[in-house]
Symmetry: C2
Subunit: 255 residues, 2 copies
Protein backbone atom coordinates (compact mmCIF):
# COMPACT_ATOMS: atom_id res chain seq x y z
CA UNK A 1 0.00 0.00 0.00
CA UNK A 2 1.05 3.61 -0.20
CA UNK A 3 1.99 6.52 2.05
CA UNK A 4 0.79 9.78 0.52
CA UNK A 5 2.40 13.05 1.61
CA UNK A 6 -0.14 15.67 0.63
CA UNK A 7 0.42 19.41 0.78
CA UNK A 8 -2.81 21.18 1.68
CA UNK A 9 -1.68 24.76 1.00
CA UNK A 10 -1.63 27.80 3.18
CA UNK A 11 -5.02 29.17 4.04
CA UNK A 12 -8.05 26.90 4.35
CA UNK A 13 -9.60 23.59 3.27
CA UNK A 14 -10.14 24.84 -0.29
CA UNK A 15 -6.41 25.07 -0.96
CA UNK A 16 -6.06 21.35 -1.46
CA UNK A 17 -5.70 20.20 -5.08
CA UNK A 18 -8.28 17.97 -6.74
CA UNK A 19 -5.67 15.22 -6.88
CA UNK A 20 -5.03 15.70 -3.17
CA UNK A 21 -8.72 15.61 -2.30
CA UNK A 22 -9.42 12.46 -4.34
CA UNK A 23 -6.46 10.78 -2.69
CA UNK A 24 -7.44 11.72 0.88
CA UNK A 25 -10.93 10.40 0.28
CA UNK A 26 -9.44 7.08 -0.83
CA UNK A 27 -7.10 6.66 2.16
CA UNK A 28 -8.00 4.52 5.13
CA UNK A 29 -6.10 6.63 7.64
CA UNK A 30 -5.58 10.39 7.47
CA UNK A 31 -3.01 12.23 9.62
CA UNK A 32 -2.46 15.99 9.83
CA UNK A 33 0.96 17.26 10.77
CA UNK A 34 0.10 19.86 13.36
CA UNK A 35 3.31 21.53 14.41
CA UNK A 36 4.65 23.46 11.44
CA UNK A 37 2.21 26.29 10.80
CA UNK A 38 -1.32 27.56 11.27
CA UNK A 39 -4.20 27.75 8.83
CA UNK A 40 -7.34 29.87 8.85
CA UNK A 41 -9.69 26.86 9.04
CA UNK A 42 -10.28 24.26 11.72
CA UNK A 43 -9.62 20.55 11.65
CA UNK A 44 -13.36 19.94 11.48
CA UNK A 45 -13.54 22.09 8.31
CA UNK A 46 -11.01 19.70 6.82
CA UNK A 47 -12.91 16.66 8.04
CA UNK A 48 -16.16 17.94 6.60
CA UNK A 49 -14.65 18.42 3.14
CA UNK A 50 -12.78 15.11 3.14
CA UNK A 51 -15.54 13.05 4.72
CA UNK A 52 -12.80 11.50 6.88
CA UNK A 53 -11.64 11.54 10.45
CA UNK A 54 -8.38 13.52 10.66
CA UNK A 55 -5.86 12.40 13.29
CA UNK A 56 -3.54 15.07 14.67
CA UNK A 57 0.12 14.08 14.36
CA UNK A 58 2.54 15.98 16.55
CA UNK A 59 6.29 16.26 16.03
CA UNK A 60 7.05 13.16 18.10
CA UNK A 61 4.65 11.03 16.13
CA UNK A 62 6.16 12.05 12.78
CA UNK A 63 9.80 12.31 13.77
CA UNK A 64 10.25 9.65 16.43
CA UNK A 65 7.36 7.23 16.46
CA UNK A 66 6.42 6.99 12.80
CA UNK A 67 7.59 3.37 12.67
CA UNK A 68 4.96 2.43 15.25
CA UNK A 69 2.09 4.39 13.69
CA UNK A 70 2.12 5.98 10.24
CA UNK A 71 4.76 3.79 8.63
CA UNK A 72 3.46 0.60 10.21
CA UNK A 73 -0.03 1.26 8.92
CA UNK A 74 1.19 2.23 5.45
CA UNK A 75 2.44 -1.34 4.99
CA UNK A 76 -1.09 -2.62 4.79
CA UNK A 77 -3.25 0.45 4.14
CA UNK A 78 -3.32 3.62 2.07
CA UNK A 79 -2.31 6.31 4.55
CA UNK A 80 -2.28 10.09 4.03
CA UNK A 81 -0.08 12.53 5.92
CA UNK A 82 -1.40 16.03 5.33
CA UNK A 83 1.16 18.80 5.54
CA UNK A 84 0.34 22.51 5.72
CA UNK A 85 1.89 24.30 2.74
CA UNK A 86 3.93 21.96 0.56
CA UNK A 87 4.62 18.35 1.41
CA UNK A 88 8.30 18.10 0.65
CA UNK A 89 9.82 21.36 1.79
CA UNK A 90 11.17 20.47 5.23
CA UNK A 91 13.93 18.08 6.26
CA UNK A 92 11.49 16.10 8.38
CA UNK A 93 9.59 15.02 5.26
CA UNK A 94 12.69 13.97 3.37
CA UNK A 95 13.62 11.95 6.45
CA UNK A 96 10.18 10.32 6.63
CA UNK A 97 10.31 9.35 2.95
CA UNK A 98 13.79 7.87 3.44
CA UNK A 99 12.53 5.78 6.36
CA UNK A 100 9.50 4.66 4.40
CA UNK A 101 11.62 3.64 1.43
CA UNK A 102 13.97 1.67 3.69
CA UNK A 103 10.95 -0.13 5.11
CA UNK A 104 9.83 -1.01 1.57
CA UNK A 105 6.83 1.30 1.63
CA UNK A 106 5.74 3.07 -1.54
CA UNK A 107 5.50 6.85 -1.17
CA UNK A 108 3.70 9.36 -3.35
CA UNK A 109 4.03 13.11 -3.05
CA UNK A 110 1.26 15.56 -3.87
CA UNK A 111 2.68 19.06 -3.91
CA UNK A 112 1.06 22.36 -3.07
CA UNK A 113 2.02 25.98 -2.61
CA UNK A 114 4.12 26.81 0.42
CA UNK A 115 5.21 30.04 2.02
CA UNK A 116 8.17 29.90 -0.37
CA UNK A 117 5.75 30.52 -3.25
CA UNK A 118 3.42 32.88 -1.45
CA UNK A 119 6.15 35.41 -0.68
CA UNK A 120 5.95 36.11 -4.41
CA UNK A 121 3.01 38.34 -3.44
CA UNK A 122 5.55 40.86 -2.17
CA UNK A 123 6.65 41.44 -5.77
CA UNK A 124 10.14 40.17 -5.00
CA UNK A 125 11.44 37.75 -7.60
CA UNK A 126 11.39 34.20 -6.24
CA UNK A 127 14.39 33.38 -8.40
CA UNK A 128 16.47 35.82 -6.39
CA UNK A 129 15.91 34.34 -2.95
CA UNK A 130 18.91 32.71 -1.35
CA UNK A 131 19.05 30.27 1.53
CA UNK A 132 15.94 30.20 3.70
CA UNK A 133 16.44 30.41 7.45
CA UNK A 134 14.44 30.52 10.66
CA UNK A 135 14.41 32.16 14.07
CA UNK A 136 13.51 30.02 17.08
CA UNK A 137 12.04 31.38 20.30
CA UNK A 138 15.04 32.33 22.47
CA UNK A 139 15.77 30.03 25.37
CA UNK A 140 18.21 30.46 28.20
CA UNK A 141 21.00 28.42 26.74
CA UNK A 142 19.91 28.56 23.11
CA UNK A 143 20.10 31.84 21.24
CA UNK A 144 21.39 30.86 17.83
CA UNK A 145 22.69 33.44 15.38
CA UNK A 146 21.94 31.35 12.31
CA UNK A 147 19.52 33.82 10.74
CA UNK A 148 22.09 36.60 11.07
CA UNK A 149 24.70 34.41 9.38
CA UNK A 150 22.34 33.48 6.58
CA UNK A 151 21.38 37.12 5.86
CA UNK A 152 25.08 37.94 5.75
CA UNK A 153 25.80 35.08 3.33
CA UNK A 154 22.89 35.87 1.02
CA UNK A 155 23.80 39.58 1.06
CA UNK A 156 27.25 38.72 -0.24
CA UNK A 157 25.73 37.65 -3.53
CA UNK A 158 22.79 40.07 -3.51
CA UNK A 159 20.05 37.56 -2.66
CA UNK A 160 16.86 38.00 -0.65
CA UNK A 161 16.45 36.12 2.65
CA UNK A 162 13.21 34.53 3.76
CA UNK A 163 13.10 34.02 7.53
CA UNK A 164 10.54 31.59 8.90
CA UNK A 165 9.44 32.36 12.45
CA UNK A 166 9.09 29.78 15.18
CA UNK A 167 5.70 28.30 16.02
CA UNK A 168 4.71 26.28 19.06
CA UNK A 169 1.03 25.66 18.38
CA UNK A 170 0.56 23.52 21.50
CA UNK A 171 1.52 26.48 23.66
CA UNK A 172 -0.27 28.94 21.36
CA UNK A 173 3.08 30.58 20.60
CA UNK A 174 3.68 32.07 17.15
CA UNK A 175 6.60 34.44 16.72
CA UNK A 176 5.66 37.89 15.48
CA UNK A 177 7.57 40.01 12.96
CA UNK A 178 8.35 42.49 15.76
CA UNK A 179 9.94 39.84 17.97
CA UNK A 180 12.05 38.58 15.08
CA UNK A 181 13.33 42.09 14.39
CA UNK A 182 14.16 42.56 18.08
CA UNK A 183 16.14 39.32 18.12
CA UNK A 184 18.10 40.29 15.01
CA UNK A 185 18.88 43.76 16.40
CA UNK A 186 20.12 42.15 19.58
CA UNK A 187 22.48 39.90 17.61
CA UNK A 188 23.70 42.97 15.69
CA UNK A 189 24.47 44.74 19.00
CA UNK A 190 26.66 41.81 19.91
CA UNK A 191 28.30 41.14 16.57
CA UNK A 192 28.46 44.68 15.16
CA UNK A 193 29.00 43.50 11.58
CA UNK A 194 26.44 45.89 10.12
CA UNK A 195 24.33 43.02 8.80
CA UNK A 196 21.02 43.99 10.43
CA UNK A 197 20.60 47.50 11.81
CA UNK A 198 17.61 49.74 12.53
CA UNK A 199 17.97 51.05 8.98
CA UNK A 200 17.85 47.65 7.29
CA UNK A 201 14.99 47.36 4.81
CA UNK A 202 12.60 44.61 5.92
CA UNK A 203 9.36 43.18 4.62
CA UNK A 204 6.98 41.86 7.22
CA UNK A 205 4.36 39.36 6.03
CA UNK A 206 1.40 38.11 8.01
CA UNK A 207 -1.06 35.43 6.98
CA UNK A 208 0.55 35.16 3.55
CA UNK A 209 -1.80 33.36 1.18
CA UNK A 210 -4.80 34.14 3.43
CA UNK A 211 -7.55 36.53 2.37
CA UNK A 212 -6.52 39.10 4.99
CA UNK A 213 -2.78 38.89 4.33
CA UNK A 214 -0.63 41.89 5.20
CA UNK A 215 2.66 42.78 3.51
CA UNK A 216 4.48 45.84 4.80
CA UNK A 217 7.96 47.11 3.97
CA UNK A 218 10.01 49.64 5.86
CA UNK A 219 13.22 49.79 7.81
CA UNK A 220 13.60 47.62 10.88
CA UNK A 221 12.86 50.48 13.26
CA UNK A 222 9.60 51.36 11.52
CA UNK A 223 8.35 47.78 11.38
CA UNK A 224 9.08 47.26 15.09
CA UNK A 225 5.92 49.22 15.87
CA UNK A 226 3.61 47.78 13.22
CA UNK A 227 0.83 45.50 14.43
CA UNK A 228 0.70 42.67 11.91
CA UNK A 229 -2.19 40.95 13.63
CA UNK A 230 -2.81 37.23 13.80
CA UNK A 231 -0.16 34.59 12.92
CA UNK A 232 1.52 33.12 11.00
CA UNK A 233 4.15 35.79 10.30
CA UNK A 234 7.39 35.74 8.36
CA UNK A 235 10.13 38.25 7.66
CA UNK A 236 12.05 38.99 4.48
CA UNK A 237 15.34 40.85 4.23
CA UNK A 238 15.69 41.91 0.60
CA UNK A 239 19.02 41.72 -1.18
CA UNK A 240 19.76 43.78 -4.26
CA UNK A 241 16.50 45.14 -5.64
CA UNK A 242 15.55 45.35 -9.30
CA UNK A 243 13.56 48.50 -10.18
CA UNK A 244 10.41 46.42 -10.70
CA UNK A 245 10.78 44.96 -7.22
CA UNK A 246 11.24 48.44 -5.77
CA UNK A 247 8.13 49.61 -7.52
CA UNK A 248 6.14 46.61 -6.29
CA UNK A 249 7.20 47.30 -2.70
CA UNK A 250 6.33 50.98 -3.07
CA UNK A 251 2.78 50.47 -4.30
CA UNK A 252 2.29 47.35 -2.11
CA UNK A 253 0.69 45.00 -4.65
CA UNK A 254 -1.92 43.42 -2.41
CA UNK A 255 -3.12 45.83 0.24
CA UNK B 1 -14.16 43.33 -11.36
CA UNK B 2 -11.16 41.16 -10.69
CA UNK B 3 -8.18 39.67 -12.48
CA UNK B 4 -7.35 36.27 -10.99
CA UNK B 5 -3.88 34.83 -11.50
CA UNK B 6 -4.34 31.13 -10.86
CA UNK B 7 -1.53 28.60 -10.64
CA UNK B 8 -2.66 25.26 -12.04
CA UNK B 9 0.26 23.14 -10.87
CA UNK B 10 2.67 20.96 -12.77
CA UNK B 11 1.16 17.84 -14.20
CA UNK B 12 -2.49 17.73 -15.28
CA UNK B 13 -5.95 19.25 -14.79
CA UNK B 14 -6.30 17.67 -11.34
CA UNK B 15 -3.48 19.77 -9.91
CA UNK B 16 -5.66 22.86 -9.63
CA UNK B 17 -6.83 23.70 -6.09
CA UNK B 18 -10.53 23.69 -5.16
CA UNK B 19 -10.31 27.46 -4.69
CA UNK B 20 -8.77 27.77 -8.15
CA UNK B 21 -11.43 25.58 -9.74
CA UNK B 22 -14.34 27.43 -8.14
CA UNK B 23 -12.83 30.72 -9.27
CA UNK B 24 -12.24 29.63 -12.88
CA UNK B 25 -15.82 28.42 -13.10
CA UNK B 26 -17.02 31.86 -11.99
CA UNK B 27 -14.90 33.86 -14.44
CA UNK B 28 -16.32 35.19 -17.68
CA UNK B 29 -13.05 34.91 -19.58
CA UNK B 30 -10.34 32.31 -19.04
CA UNK B 31 -6.82 32.64 -20.47
CA UNK B 32 -4.00 30.09 -20.29
CA UNK B 33 -0.45 31.33 -20.42
CA UNK B 34 1.08 28.96 -22.94
CA UNK B 35 4.75 29.75 -23.19
CA UNK B 36 6.37 28.88 -19.88
CA UNK B 37 6.16 25.11 -19.54
CA UNK B 38 4.41 21.93 -20.61
CA UNK B 39 1.85 19.80 -18.80
CA UNK B 40 0.83 16.20 -19.30
CA UNK B 41 -2.78 17.07 -20.19
CA UNK B 42 -4.32 18.89 -23.13
CA UNK B 43 -6.15 22.20 -23.20
CA UNK B 44 -9.37 20.32 -23.84
CA UNK B 45 -8.82 18.31 -20.63
CA UNK B 46 -8.71 21.64 -18.81
CA UNK B 47 -11.81 22.90 -20.63
CA UNK B 48 -13.74 19.76 -19.79
CA UNK B 49 -13.02 20.08 -16.08
CA UNK B 50 -13.68 23.82 -15.95
CA UNK B 51 -16.72 23.81 -18.22
CA UNK B 52 -15.20 26.90 -19.85
CA UNK B 53 -13.56 27.84 -23.11
CA UNK B 54 -9.82 28.36 -22.50
CA UNK B 55 -8.11 31.01 -24.63
CA UNK B 56 -4.40 30.50 -25.30
CA UNK B 57 -2.34 33.54 -24.32
CA UNK B 58 1.13 33.73 -25.85
CA UNK B 59 4.01 35.83 -24.56
CA UNK B 60 3.07 38.86 -26.65
CA UNK B 61 -0.48 38.85 -25.36
CA UNK B 62 0.61 38.77 -21.71
CA UNK B 63 3.71 40.93 -21.90
CA UNK B 64 2.92 43.46 -24.62
CA UNK B 65 -0.75 43.53 -25.43
CA UNK B 66 -2.37 42.87 -22.05
CA UNK B 67 -3.78 46.40 -21.95
CA UNK B 68 -5.82 45.66 -25.10
CA UNK B 69 -7.04 42.23 -23.99
CA UNK B 70 -6.74 40.76 -20.50
CA UNK B 71 -6.46 44.00 -18.53
CA UNK B 72 -9.12 45.77 -20.60
CA UNK B 73 -11.59 42.97 -19.99
CA UNK B 74 -10.79 42.75 -16.28
CA UNK B 75 -12.16 46.26 -15.84
CA UNK B 76 -15.68 45.03 -16.48
CA UNK B 77 -15.48 41.23 -16.05
CA UNK B 78 -13.98 38.59 -13.81
CA UNK B 79 -11.03 37.30 -15.83
CA UNK B 80 -8.74 34.36 -15.02
CA UNK B 81 -5.18 33.98 -16.24
CA UNK B 82 -4.10 30.40 -15.68
CA UNK B 83 -0.38 29.87 -15.16
CA UNK B 84 1.35 26.48 -15.22
CA UNK B 85 3.02 25.85 -11.87
CA UNK B 86 2.64 28.80 -9.51
CA UNK B 87 1.06 32.10 -10.46
CA UNK B 88 3.54 34.55 -8.99
CA UNK B 89 6.94 33.04 -9.55
CA UNK B 90 8.11 34.83 -12.69
CA UNK B 91 8.90 38.48 -13.32
CA UNK B 92 6.27 38.64 -16.02
CA UNK B 93 3.53 38.07 -13.44
CA UNK B 94 4.80 40.70 -11.04
CA UNK B 95 4.85 43.07 -14.01
CA UNK B 96 1.29 42.18 -15.00
CA UNK B 97 0.03 42.75 -11.45
CA UNK B 98 1.81 46.11 -11.33
CA UNK B 99 0.16 47.17 -14.58
CA UNK B 100 -3.24 45.98 -13.37
CA UNK B 101 -2.88 47.89 -10.11
CA UNK B 102 -1.89 51.06 -11.99
CA UNK B 103 -5.01 50.68 -14.14
CA UNK B 104 -7.10 50.39 -10.96
CA UNK B 105 -7.90 46.71 -11.46
CA UNK B 106 -8.24 44.43 -8.46
CA UNK B 107 -5.99 41.37 -8.59
CA UNK B 108 -6.22 38.13 -6.64
CA UNK B 109 -3.56 35.46 -6.59
CA UNK B 110 -4.27 31.76 -6.19
CA UNK B 111 -1.02 29.94 -5.62
CA UNK B 112 0.02 26.42 -6.52
CA UNK B 113 3.10 24.25 -6.51
CA UNK B 114 5.81 25.14 -8.98
CA UNK B 115 8.99 23.44 -10.08
CA UNK B 116 10.63 25.23 -7.14
CA UNK B 117 8.61 23.02 -4.79
CA UNK B 118 8.71 19.86 -6.84
CA UNK B 119 12.50 19.65 -6.86
CA UNK B 120 12.03 18.72 -3.20
CA UNK B 121 11.42 15.22 -4.60
CA UNK B 122 15.17 14.94 -5.13
CA UNK B 123 15.62 14.93 -1.35
CA UNK B 124 17.62 18.16 -1.48
CA UNK B 125 16.53 20.67 1.15
CA UNK B 126 14.54 23.48 -0.45
CA UNK B 127 15.87 25.85 2.20
CA UNK B 128 19.36 25.39 0.84
CA UNK B 129 18.71 26.44 -2.73
CA UNK B 130 20.27 29.72 -3.82
CA UNK B 131 19.42 31.89 -6.77
CA UNK B 132 17.49 30.15 -9.53
CA UNK B 133 18.75 30.57 -13.06
CA UNK B 134 17.96 29.46 -16.60
CA UNK B 135 19.68 28.42 -19.82
CA UNK B 136 18.26 29.73 -23.09
CA UNK B 137 18.67 28.00 -26.44
CA UNK B 138 21.96 29.30 -27.87
CA UNK B 139 21.68 31.75 -30.73
CA UNK B 140 24.38 33.16 -32.98
CA UNK B 141 24.89 36.40 -31.10
CA UNK B 142 23.41 35.34 -27.79
CA UNK B 143 25.24 32.77 -25.70
CA UNK B 144 24.89 34.10 -22.16
CA UNK B 145 26.98 32.72 -19.33
CA UNK B 146 24.48 33.66 -16.64
CA UNK B 147 23.88 30.10 -15.41
CA UNK B 148 27.62 29.58 -15.01
CA UNK B 149 27.88 32.79 -12.99
CA UNK B 150 24.95 31.83 -10.80
CA UNK B 151 26.36 28.36 -10.03
CA UNK B 152 29.64 30.04 -9.11
CA UNK B 153 27.88 32.53 -6.81
CA UNK B 154 25.73 29.92 -5.08
CA UNK B 155 28.75 27.63 -4.68
CA UNK B 156 30.54 30.36 -2.76
CA UNK B 157 28.06 29.98 0.07
CA UNK B 158 27.37 26.26 -0.39
CA UNK B 159 23.90 26.55 -1.94
CA UNK B 160 22.18 24.36 -4.54
CA UNK B 161 21.38 25.80 -7.96
CA UNK B 162 18.15 25.07 -9.83
CA UNK B 163 18.53 25.69 -13.56
CA UNK B 164 15.36 26.05 -15.60
CA UNK B 165 15.74 25.03 -19.22
CA UNK B 166 14.41 27.01 -22.16
CA UNK B 167 11.11 26.09 -23.77
CA UNK B 168 9.73 27.27 -27.09
CA UNK B 169 6.44 25.40 -27.23
CA UNK B 170 5.37 26.99 -30.54
CA UNK B 171 8.39 25.45 -32.23
CA UNK B 172 8.11 22.26 -30.18
CA UNK B 173 11.50 23.00 -28.63
CA UNK B 174 12.18 21.98 -25.01
CA UNK B 175 15.77 21.96 -23.84
CA UNK B 176 16.98 18.60 -22.56
CA UNK B 177 19.24 17.97 -19.55
CA UNK B 178 21.93 16.74 -21.95
CA UNK B 179 21.94 19.95 -23.98
CA UNK B 180 22.14 22.03 -20.82
CA UNK B 181 25.17 20.08 -19.62
CA UNK B 182 26.83 20.50 -23.04
CA UNK B 183 26.29 24.25 -22.90
CA UNK B 184 27.74 24.51 -19.39
CA UNK B 185 30.79 22.41 -20.34
CA UNK B 186 31.36 24.68 -23.34
CA UNK B 187 31.33 27.74 -21.07
CA UNK B 188 33.78 25.98 -18.74
CA UNK B 189 36.12 25.33 -21.67
CA UNK B 190 36.15 29.05 -22.35
CA UNK B 191 36.27 30.35 -18.79
CA UNK B 192 38.33 27.62 -17.12
CA UNK B 193 37.27 28.62 -13.61
CA UNK B 194 36.53 25.05 -12.53
CA UNK B 195 32.87 25.85 -11.88
CA UNK B 196 31.33 23.15 -14.07
CA UNK B 197 33.48 20.25 -15.23
CA UNK B 198 32.80 16.69 -16.40
CA UNK B 199 33.17 15.65 -12.75
CA UNK B 200 30.60 18.09 -11.37
CA UNK B 201 27.77 16.34 -9.56
CA UNK B 202 24.46 17.04 -11.34
CA UNK B 203 20.86 16.03 -10.83
CA UNK B 204 18.77 15.76 -13.95
CA UNK B 205 15.01 15.95 -13.50
CA UNK B 206 12.39 15.21 -16.11
CA UNK B 207 8.65 15.70 -15.82
CA UNK B 208 9.00 16.64 -12.15
CA UNK B 209 5.62 16.40 -10.46
CA UNK B 210 4.31 14.06 -13.20
CA UNK B 211 3.52 10.42 -12.56
CA UNK B 212 6.45 9.27 -14.72
CA UNK B 213 8.99 11.73 -13.31
CA UNK B 214 12.67 10.81 -13.51
CA UNK B 215 15.35 12.06 -11.13
CA UNK B 216 18.92 10.93 -11.79
CA UNK B 217 22.14 12.07 -10.18
CA UNK B 218 25.66 11.55 -11.43
CA UNK B 219 28.57 13.56 -12.66
CA UNK B 220 28.10 15.72 -15.75
CA UNK B 221 29.84 13.22 -18.02
CA UNK B 222 27.59 10.35 -16.90
CA UNK B 223 24.37 12.33 -17.29
CA UNK B 224 25.34 13.47 -20.80
CA UNK B 225 24.36 10.02 -22.08
CA UNK B 226 21.18 9.48 -20.07
CA UNK B 227 17.90 9.61 -21.98
CA UNK B 228 15.52 11.53 -19.75
CA UNK B 229 12.59 11.18 -22.16
CA UNK B 230 9.84 13.68 -22.71
CA UNK B 231 10.01 17.32 -21.49
CA UNK B 232 9.97 19.39 -19.39
CA UNK B 233 13.47 18.91 -17.96
CA UNK B 234 15.49 20.84 -15.42
CA UNK B 235 18.97 20.55 -14.00
CA UNK B 236 20.23 20.95 -10.45
CA UNK B 237 23.82 21.55 -9.38
CA UNK B 238 24.01 20.69 -5.68
CA UNK B 239 26.03 22.81 -3.30
CA UNK B 240 27.27 21.44 0.00
CA UNK B 241 25.41 18.23 0.80
CA UNK B 242 24.07 17.22 4.20
CA UNK B 243 24.35 13.48 4.88
CA UNK B 244 20.58 13.09 4.58
CA UNK B 245 20.65 14.70 1.16
CA UNK B 246 23.47 12.40 0.08
CA UNK B 247 21.51 9.40 1.25
CA UNK B 248 18.38 10.58 -0.58
CA UNK B 249 20.34 10.96 -3.82
CA UNK B 250 21.91 7.54 -3.36
CA UNK B 251 18.70 5.61 -2.92
CA UNK B 252 16.79 7.89 -5.38
CA UNK B 253 13.61 8.51 -3.41
CA UNK B 254 11.12 8.23 -6.24
CA UNK B 255 12.28 5.82 -8.89
Amino acid sequence: MTLYLIGIGLSDEKDITLRGLETVRRCEKVYLESYTSKMSCSVSDLEKLYGKKVIIADRDMVEKNAEKTILKEAKTKDVALLVMGDSMSATTHVDLVLRARKAGIKVEIIHNASIMNAVGDTGLELYKFGKTTSIPFPEKSYEPETAYEVIKGNNKIGLHTLILLDVKPKQGMFMRVNEAIEILLKIEQKRKEDVFTEDTLCIGCARTGFEDAIIKSGNAKELLDVDFGEPPHCLIIPGKLHFMEEEALKIALFS
